[in-house]
């Protein structure tokens, strides 16, 4: 046991001697911390309301009440667990959480964080999105705690706090506000310093009273102190942390340049010798801050656009139980509960519409702005908004399991991911910085010997400033952010940068049939009236009504069709389901059968002359249903899985893009061939009667031929082939398994989005290459200029910021180029 008085750190629970302890009051209670990093983390966690986490942590450590921890009752403990669980996901020891990290400026910051955290024992995965500063972390709870990880991040100079994609609001604003203040201060100081510096320059050429010269120099120096140390604080701080973590970023270059300009000038003022470079120091900081401000604003704009998803948060819902309405919190919602919604409400859970009929706005998920009418038994999707009438709904999924939160997570993942090219850039820029520091030093020595300090000094500063690789660092993530954001607006979710690169290389498209090229929903395609005397609106309406008793795709198709046709239900009685064959009921006192051929034969319905027709329909892949009244056939209903309206057009456009198309289906061969014919494909482009294994074998074969296969599918049986193809695209209404196995999800569930996906991928990829070219171009052209003393430091700072801004602006321009390309394709 340690000697002397020891306290537990209130953040990381480390036992610390009193002497080394930091004691700070937080919200009126004195807290103990082992280090400033812990203090910082504690305050941040407290601020975001995550302090319940500490109580849980203590409980788990088996610590007593000594340190102000509360003994928890079992319910309270369960509640804490739940709160912890809101941020930390995963059963067993492997946990997953999303963090938001502040104070990240550049690729090197990201690199430093990733390098250090990934090296910690127990951390399995850690990646930061340089665009949104959000990160995803997976760790082994047995080896390391989340607190330790947050602590380490704070230790190297960044704030990190837990963040949930579907819960937290972006806190970008606090940071931008701080940046705005500093930028304004820097602008004001730079302006005034420049004005006074003009006096000094004039004095240099025309002569000046030494007393006035000294006075102006002193004034300028005093003004520059806040200009460098207040306005430039984020840069100096960033540089310091970079150095401590031994991974220099652009801040190191700027700070070295500014500080050397500042201290050299101070020395000249004090000794009354030589010129001053205070204006340089100020302008450097001003331009860097300006570049950062423009970047932050652009990001804020994009994040706000994507964050419309996160605005869809509600706290309470109305539960209906035995006719009584109770307000319950969203966390309490469980499958099976009946909830009530009014027009304007956002639906927070998935469910089946139980009572009422209303229109929904599903645009958040699908990008489709037209309202969708839904009624009894239809699926209500979380994230949609009720538009017109009151309704109740039976919950099928709540919380993490809903479609909406799964999509949110996928979106978050997609923004977190980095393409291989951007990872390479991160690593290169760190080495680049070392090289520049050396280069700048060498140029200083050379110019000092060949021209004196007056030239050597500005040259060295120019080299440092111009070489900042920040444009290079943001080139890829910025374009990716805009590209994926734009495609999302059109209902195409591209999961990550790697997928994007694969999409561009695609040279073979493979489609699944059912649910992909066809709607996958049974619909009535034709109704033939066989007996004018017995057929009536009333019969059709009561048939629609009777079919509500059966949950079967065919029944659903009949119900939907006749309900729409007759405009309402009519009463029926004596309902009977005749398992696997059809139904029996009475309408207007007459016995009615609706079902397949076997039912009709068994019930003695006169089907002479209809048998061959029904066989024929079955052979075509359709489902024939016969309706008989009093043993007389009255209606012949043809039900089929319809081809998607945009299927033919999509295939034609893919052909125009020069991509060969293939259909792999589990359906019967003749059905697949007929579909191919209708869609204008030749028979050698289709394969029928394939098992899921056969499908994967086909994909393997194509890949072995060196083809980059893009597979479009839905449903469980497509999941393996979607995962195996170089890019898998799944329809938004597909099964959850296929959603997770594919790189692209068509949230709006339309086939034409396949073409849009390709267009977006190509435009974004082109933009990335353009950005990288321009960023490199700046560095390659400008460094020699700086070395040969053509460029003075102020222009260097301007050019540097311009290169970052041009990358940002060029990326934003992607919105327009992608839109134009889409219009050319006819969308």
């Amino acid at each position: 046991m340690q000697k002397g008085v020891h306290f537990y750190c209130d953040h990381c629970s480390k036992l610390t001697p009193e002497k080394k302890l930091t004691k700070t009051p937080v919200n009126g209670v004195e807290r103990h911390f082992c280090c400033p990093g812990c203090e910082l983390s504690f305050k941040v966690l407290k601020q975001v309301g995550f302090d319940d986490y500490y109580n849980l942590q203590r409980k788990e450590l088996g610590l007593d009440e000594d340190r102000g921890a509360v003994t928890l009752s079992s319910e309270e403990e369960a509640r804490m667990k739940e709160l912890y669980g809101e941020f930390v996901q995963g059963e067993g020891p492997i946990k997953l959480a999303y963090l938001k990290i502040e104070k990240i400026h550049c690729a090197a910051c990201v690199f430093a964080n990733e390098e250090i955290i990934r090296k910690m024992t127990g951390v399995l995965e850690f990646s930061i999105n340089p665009g949104t500063h959000r990160s995803k972390i997976r760790w082994d709870d047995r080896l390391i705690s989340l607190a330790e990880i947050l602590n380490t991040i704070a230790g190297i100079g960044y704030y990190a706090y837990p963040f949930h994609p579907s819960k937290a609001k972006p806190t970008l604003d606090a940071e931008t506000r701080d940046l705005t203040t500093r930028l304004g201060a820097s602008a004001l100081i730079s302006m005034n310093v420049m004005l006074l510096a003009i006096g000094l320059y004039a004095g240099y050429f025309q002569g000046i009273d030494p007393q006035i010269r000294a006075f102006i120099q002193w004034i300028v120096m005093i003004m520059t102190i806040p200009g460098v140390f207040y306005a430039g604080k984020p840069i100096l701080q960033g540089a310091w942390y970079n150095l401590k973590a031994k991974s220099p970023g652009m801040d190191v270059l700027i700070a070295t340049g500014t500080l050397s300009a500042f201290f050299l000038s101070v020395w000249h003022v004090m000794t009354g010798t030589g010129e001053t470079y205070f204006d340089t120091a100020n302008m450097l900081i001003f331009f860097i801050l300006l570049g950062r401000y423009v970047e932050a604003k652009a990001k804020q704009k994009i994040i706000r656009e994507t964050d419309k998803y996160e605005d869809y948060r509600i706290e309470t819902v109305t539960r209906v139980m035995d006719g009584i309405r109770v307000n319950i919190s969203l966390e309490e919602v469980k499958p099976g509960m009946v909830l009530e919604f009014y027009p304007g409400d956002v639906i927070p859970a998935d469910g089946l519409l139980a009572e009422g009929e209303t229109s929904f706005d599903e645009s958040v998920l699908t990008g489709e702005s037209r309202p969708r009418r839904k009624k009894n038994g239809d699926q209500v999707i979380s994230g949609s908004r009720n538009l017109t009438e009151r309704f109740t709904m039976t919950v099928t999924h709540a919380g993490e399991g809903t479609i909406f939160s799964r999509v949110l997570e996928l979106i978050e993942d997609s923004q977190l991911s980095k393409s291989p090219i951007s990872r390479l850039v991160d690593q290169v820029s760190v080495r680049f910085i070392y090289a520049i520091l050396v280069l700048s030093g060498l140029s200083f020595i050379w110019w000092n010997l060949n021209g004196g300090l007056g030239i050597a000094f500005p040259v060295a500063v120019s080299v440092l400033v111009i070489a900042c690789p920040c444009a290079l660092g943001i080139a890829t993530p910025m374009a990716l952010l805009v590209g994926t954001g734009e495609s999302l607006k059109k209902g195409v979710l591209i999961k990550n940068g790697e997928v994007l690169e694969e999409l561009v290389k695609t040279d073979q498209v493979v489609f699944d049939k059912t649910g992909t090229l066809t709607t996958g929903v049974m619909t009535v395609v034709r109704v033939q009236s066989l007996n004018q005397r017995l057929d009536s609106q009333e019969l059709r309406a009561s048939l629609a009504h009777a079919e509500t008793e059966v949950f079967h795709p065919v029944a659903r198709a009949i119900r939907t069709h006749f309900y729409a046709e007759t405009g309402g239900y009519q009463p029926y009685s004596g309902f009977q389901a005749l398992g696997g064959m059809g139904i029996r009921f009475e309408s207007a006192g007459k016995e009615v059968f609706a079902g397949n051929l076997r039912l009709m034969t068994e019930m003695g319905v006169d089907t002479v002359g209809l048998e061959s027709r029904m066989m024929e329909l079955s052979a075509e892949g359709k489902v024939p249903v016969l309706v008989a009244v009093g043993r007389q056939p009255v209606l012949l209903i043809e039900i089929a899985d319809e081809i998607r309206p945009d299927a033919k057009e999509t295939l034609a456009k893919l052909k125009k893009l020069g991509l060969p198309v293939m259909i792999l289906s589990g359906d019967r061969k003749e059905n697949v061939y007929r579909l191919a014919e209708e869609l204008g494909l030749s028979p050698d482009q289709v394969r029928g009667e394939l098992s899921p294994e056969d499908k994967t074998a086909e994909i393997k074969k194509l890949s072995a031929e060196g083809k980059k296969v893009m597979m479009v599918g839905d449903g469980v049986n497509d999941a393996p082939s979607l995962a195996l193809a170089s890019v898998g695209i799944s329809m938004g209404e597909g099964s959850s398994i296929s959603l997770e196995n594919s790189g692209v999800i068509l949230l709006n569930n339309t086939l034409s989005s396949v073409v849009k996906t390709l267009v977006f991928a190509k435009s974004t990829y082109r933009k990335i290459r353009q950005n990288l070219f321009w960023a490199l171009f700046y560095n390659v052209v400008m460094i020699p200029l700086a070395l040969f003393a053509v460029l003075i430091p102020i222009y260097a700072a301007m050019a540097m910021s311009l290169s970052s801004i041009s990358v940002v602006v060029n990326s934003l321009y992607l919105k327009r180029t992608a839109g134009k390309r889409l219009r050319q394709m006819g969308y």
Binding site: D173, T176, R177, T180, T181, G184, A185, L188, N192, L196, D209, I212, F215, I216, I219, M223, K301
Partner: protein, 61 residues
Amino acid sequence: MISIYILILLSLLVAAGAFVLYLWAVRTGQFEDLEETKFQIFDEDDETGTGSHPETRQPKP
């Protein structure tokens, strides 16, 4: 030549005043969302205050 000392110091005071004004503007969120203002006339101004950006909607003192 005394005037130049006075004028320089005076200009610094004016600049400091401008900075205080600027600080006020930043603190009260004037620079927060430069796009939002032009859409404000479309906001429904009812008591629950739906439709407007929650951050730019400051409670009245």
